[in-house]
Point group: D2
Amino acid sequence: MNEHVSLLDRTLNSLRGAWRDSLRGAWRDIAASARGALTGQPRPELSREDAERLRVQLRDCLEGRGGEVSARARAADLGRTYLALNAVGRERFLRLLAVEFDIDHREVARLSAQIQSAADDFERRKIERTLRQALEPPRVKLLTQFNALPEGVKFLVDMRAELMRLGREDLKLAALEQDLKMLLSGWFDIGFLELGRITWDSPAALLEKLMLYEAVHEIRSWTDLKNRLEADRRCFAFFHPRMPQEPIIFVEVALTQGMSSNVQALLDESAPVGDPTQADTANFYSISNCQRGLWGISFGDFLIKRVVDMLAAELPHLKTYTTLSPIPGFGAWIEKRLAEEGDDLLTEEERAAVAAVPRGNEGFAALIAQPDWSADEVTAEAVKAPLTRLCARYLLTETTPSGRASDPVAHFHLSNGARIERINWRGDLSKKGLQQSFGMMINYLYRLGDIEENHEAYTGEGRIAASSAVTRLAKD
Amino acid sequence: MNEHVSLLDRTLNSLRGAWRDSLRGAWRDIAASARGALTGQPRPELSREDAERLRVQLRDCLEGRGGEVSARARAADLGRTYLALNAVGRERFLRLLAVEFDIDHREVARLSAQIQSAADDFERRKIERTLRQALEPPRVKLLTQFNALPEGVKFLVDMRAELMRLGREDLKLAALEQDLKMLLSGWFDIGFLELGRITWDSPAALLEKLMLYEAVHEIRSWTDLKNRLEADRRCFAFFHPRMPQEPIIFVEVALTQGMSSNVQALLDESAPVGDPTQADTANFYSISNCQRGLWGISFGDFLIKRVVDMLAAELPHLKTYTTLSPIPGFGAWIEKRLAEEGDDLLTEEERAAVAAVPRGNEGFAALIAQPDWSADEVTAEAVKAPLTRLCARYLLTETTPSGRASDPVAHFHLSNGARIERINWRGDLSKKGLQQSFGMMINYLYRLGDIEENHEAYTGEGRIAASSAVTRLAKD
Amino acid sequence: MNEHVSLLDRTLNSLRGAWRDSLRGAWRDIAASARGALTGQPRPELSREDAERLRVQLRDCLEGRGGEVSARARAADLGRTYLALNAVGRERFLRLLAVEFDIDHREVARLSAQIQSAADDFERRKIERTLRQALEPPRVKLLTQFNALPEGVKFLVDMRAELMRLGREDLKLAALEQDLKMLLSGWFDIGFLELGRITWDSPAALLEKLMLYEAVHEIRSWTDLKNRLEADRRCFAFFHPRMPQEPIIFVEVALTQGMSSNVQALLDESAPVGDPTQADTANFYSISNCQRGLWGISFGDFLIKRVVDMLAAELPHLKTYTTLSPIPGFGAWIEKRLAEEGDDLLTEEERAAVAAVPRGNEGFAALIAQPDWSADEVTAEAVKAPLTRLCARYLLTETTPSGRASDPVAHFHLSNGARIERINWRGDLSKKGLQQSFGMMINYLYRLGDIEENHEAYTGEGRIAASSAVTRLAKD
Amino acid sequence: MNEHVSLLDRTLNSLRGAWRDSLRGAWRDIAASARGALTGQPRPELSREDAERLRVQLRDCLEGRGGEVSARARAADLGRTYLALNAVGRERFLRLLAVEFDIDHREVARLSAQIQSAADDFERRKIERTLRQALEPPRVKLLTQFNALPEGVKFLVDMRAELMRLGREDLKLAALEQDLKMLLSGWFDIGFLELGRITWDSPAALLEKLMLYEAVHEIRSWTDLKNRLEADRRCFAFFHPRMPQEPIIFVEVALTQGMSSNVQALLDESAPVGDPTQADTANFYSISNCQRGLWGISFGDFLIKRVVDMLAAELPHLKTYTTLSPIPGFGAWIEKRLAEEGDDLLTEEERAAVAAVPRGNEGFAALIAQPDWSADEVTAEAVKAPLTRLCARYLLTETTPSGRASDPVAHFHLSNGARIERINWRGDLSKKGLQQSFGMMINYLYRLGDIEENHEAYTGEGRIAASSAVTRLAKD
């Protein structure tokens, strides 16, 4: 098997370049034979006349002039035009789509009025159906046609990313962005995504993208990356059939004996490689979304659970599925609390311990504001108790008005049905780790039997699941 | 290359069975661990209590109880329940979906009223967005969740086929059917379909399906099929990434020197195999839709043009792209005309020729009503002139009120931009061919440079493109 | 996974034709540019002048004229020449190879003499090395060069099949055949073979070959074949990387509860499909060698044991690995014995039982010589005891002078380490089954723990392993 | 296509790990059940008792004890034993093979004597056949059995590499090494090798090996490597079906307009990427053998010509196929000549030019011995004429006693049928380039129509093909 796979890899590689080009060529040829394509490439900033010609073109696409095949081929050509524009030109292009191919508000109003006076169920349904169509802006059909581009799906994903930036202050662009979100939500339904394992045998072009997209613990080099793909690691990603070179979201897992408590240990390239068949714990230590244009369409929960299934099937010795997660909101929260309440946040005992260390008399806030506090063992020992206690409290009690955990990572795992299992002191001593969370990391535990109940308790009643140790700590 | 491919085929085959099962298992396991699954399998006809429990289950899925992953797993389980029902049970299941998870008409009416009095553009847009959501029935979300089934897409396609039958007389089921159509239209966007070549090296399981789905010229045996996949033939189909074992539409092509004029010649298993590299003509002699549940979502035009591209790239000698097509509507049309007008349909000359043959005195209608008229050379010669002339007239002048060609096959190719090139006397002497069209077949010609213009002329002005020979014939 | 596999299948299929041709083209181009290729195609029977030109060509190949790449390309061209010859021409071609490119016997004699007088170890080794080279006929290099043909390995396998026929009466052709055997033995070392599973998803072109090659129980139709690939069956074959479209040997397995006792039951297309996960027994009911040209190079033992491994990994419920095998030699043996000894072969009791049935008075031999004896229940019951008893005796005691079991199937399984487990009365009621073995079949049992010991006992001491039931029967 | 490929890549990746292990497991299980396996792992240096047990084991393998399947499984186990030994242990293992499983010299002598007195052709052939078998040492069968290891072919290739080192001074180990060479020559027949294209989409694990094996122009980093795989580059390698993760030999090609004259320009990571479809020249600028254990089995010629075919098919604009090659022998040669003849090597004119530059009065040899001569433009200009002239002379006239070009790279390309086209001054200004060849590089031109003639002229008569420019230069 192994051998066939490799032989195939190479064979396919040989074919790839040629085919990619031929595929790209296919629609282009149709487009070229389509009459009325934009004569010449427009100027990068899309001048007024170019925009006018573009409007006509888009109208033609919408009406299917020359037949659907030609229309779509021409749409693909317009997509290429868009890619060749500069920032100004692209915004103009998008605005054109947003303004000129919007809903016909008068038609909507007319149908809405009719609905009030529908004669019977049959007529009402008919009007509703018409109204529903009227509420879908014509530009949605145009957006769909861009799918004819060889990398049309990625094209639309990136277009949405651009619109998310532009749309913040523009109602019409925001509406276009919402159209795209709806379209992409349908196409990126979880049922269409493919779970793929990524290894050191994966294409370098794909691995390079992991390095680019990793958002939690930066991948510093190819050696760092290789270490994360060793025999005692697993890496999985979701892919879309029409965006096969692009991971959508990926997770890195370390297989260990016992829950991992320190991320530097996991990333240490010189550490010996463990035996995966002897591991009892899978630690999800990094999960990164790769496509800004899919923001708000959620896959993380599905990814974790599918990976748990995969791992369970491959490695029957695994008993514990946990994360090793940052606490991105803790640093800011405690700073704010200290600014408001000062050392009153601490228990008497804690205050005494703090006061006893060098420079401790300047107070807790000052002590942990020192850039190198963690390097000094005495200081570190003194602040450990209050920091871990406050961390537990932060996670278990600090919620938004709508009842969600304030910390976004906590919210993600809690709504997935995990529970807060352990606070790891000195879990991430990187600069970022110290800034965000004073070096602490959390193990969120996924226990299959409890997931649904935890989820319901959290989303229904705002009840946060935690181990007794963490719960106790928060109460101290 | 070839060798790797074959090795791989076998390797993959070895893996297939096991993996298919493991995939099926994956969601099942999640579903099994989901609380509240239908206890036991309901009775095949879905009793009242079963239906009530089903309603609760569907409601839970809709609300995402236990988290989205669990909800979807449970939906997959309900999909399996549906598959185990009999006809009565399935109709009840569908009716439940249609009735209980319909649009909230009152909410729609309320929002429609609000729209009339929107304060400003911002507010109007907001209401429109809400209204649009309100017009999407909740059952659409449920239908989407069935996508979690390993063969979820096929599941929904087949469900629509069932609804098309049931919905003819039921407003609510028809509405559910329309929801499915919209959902599937998005998923089956042409951009997501894969063009695949089918050969004698294709899986037997796939070839078996061609035999089942061929709708124009029945495939009688494996030998017949093999003949259609010889070196001077091509067969292509569209596939969907999530329905890989199922062709959506396929086309059979014969590579010949000169346009083919007779389908029996093409299907003759004992005929020698031609040299494809010497062929100058590609004859599309059979095109079949495979999935009833995708009725109304059109691919044929795209298929023909993509195949033309593929063939042009592979075989630079090809100059002519044509069809060899039946005329399904001609038989019925002429029968009707003869019933109305009798032999007045014929020219004097034609009438004389007819009268001269044995039993010709009984008239033209009687003559061609004889089951074996075509076997008698004298008779056949006498009726050839009127039949071909009337056929030309039928194709060129017989239109529906909306201006489409009456013959459905003619309409399909004309709206694709082809032109009527040649009428082939004795083109299909099968029983079906004689019944439908007195044994005649048509070559529709696809000329790349004329396609758009033909399309526009036909769809815009109802102008039908034809060769001068056919045009002249129709005028006689 | 499943989906990717299918998508891939089709993609690869699309590529296949084109690539096959391009590969074939590659060497051909080189060959075409090679100077001095046979001018024009020789006449089919290879005339004297053609043969002379061929001799020169072969000599050029051997000397690597124009460089190794060109020489090999030209060899490929000569291979194509061979394929275009008729039977007479081919024999001339082969004879040319055998006679003109033989060992230089004088050189061998010279070196053999030298060896007698080698001065020291170093010199002796040097002569031995030279002698070894001299003993390898130059035609072996030529045969190897034919490997440059796209299907060069199959070419040589088929050439050997042809030589096996011709060489029976010709010393020199037999020597050429032996050269080929040595060459192929190296290339078909078991380590190079790939085990592949064959399913209904396998290419039709491959399945068609199974139908052709099945040697034990004829495959009558595609429906019959499909039945042998259902969910409760397995089919595996060995393939060579350079002969990927050609199975070398394949085995058919039925998964049942309990050992199968009747092959018609297994081949019954209307029988329900069992659940493979519930099966406890794997029955190897047909094993066929596919390539006559590999005669004498043995794979069957490896195939059975690799398949046992595969099945054990896939289906942990399997406990018993057995065959359901014919007894091809029994019919002829008993006929001979009856001719010699008559009814003395039977015990008194058996004779009495035989005498009691209609026509029984004509004796045992006459009774079982009736073509329809098995259809008559009374007769069948009467002859069951003597036939099964004699069958046991045949298998356990009838050996060749060299101590092998006389029955070739028995010898194959016994030397693999299996034991004779059960004689199945009415195990194969096909015409062939009744003729060969009076409808009986054998279960040979493969028990992993006993295989080595059974093998050693059989090959070392000629001891045949059998169940106590069969042993007892043989002693009656 | 592209998409399927990627999907597949990932799918396969997911399967890989598991399967690799399962394959490894397969034989191991059989081995484990084989009786008499080496009890426990021997000590790394293979003690005397271990060696004795090993001898018995090897003997059992040879005799096929327990059946061929078991014997081979046990051999695989012994292979693993070998891998676990240290250098001392391995040498002992190899010596055991070499000494104990050698040819039976007495038997050879006996048969050699018989041959002298063979009665007739039939008997002589029979003895010859027996003698041939006697001349094949039994250890060859053992070596073959190691092929049962999952990476058995690589195992034997590496074993030969080890023997090449050890065998230099040991007759018996050298004989074993020769056995391996013969075995590997058969297995690595060019007909079995697969040509694969390597791209940035290839597995990282494979690309990493390119970095390791590149022998001409060191790959300094992943960025350097990526640059060599850009759109205007091609990289191809030969692979063996049973060693799929290991390139055997690979070549790097740059597609340019006009012949490339400078390797630093090709390796410049910041240079713009050219358009391959516009290139007219393919420059083979690096070709590296990867497996020391295949030394003496030649593939380079085949590789170049197959790649030429591939490129010609892909890029019809290509007109020129050339190399950009080092001159590894020139530096040493000129040094020796200068030591012998001093500045007499130079023409009067050249001497004058040299004398005119700073430090030129110390003579030519001293001038070009300066480490930084090339950095000084005036000096460089002065030495250019003599160096290029002497280089031409070196290449065209300097031959070994057997008539081969002295320079190994020149010999390789000339015997492949290429001609010396151009000497590139300042073609490789790396430290290595300056040392080896004073910064010069050669374009060897492969012109399809001349290859055979060039080859014959060179190998037959020692005639070296060169462009008129180079020929003229050598005559100056």
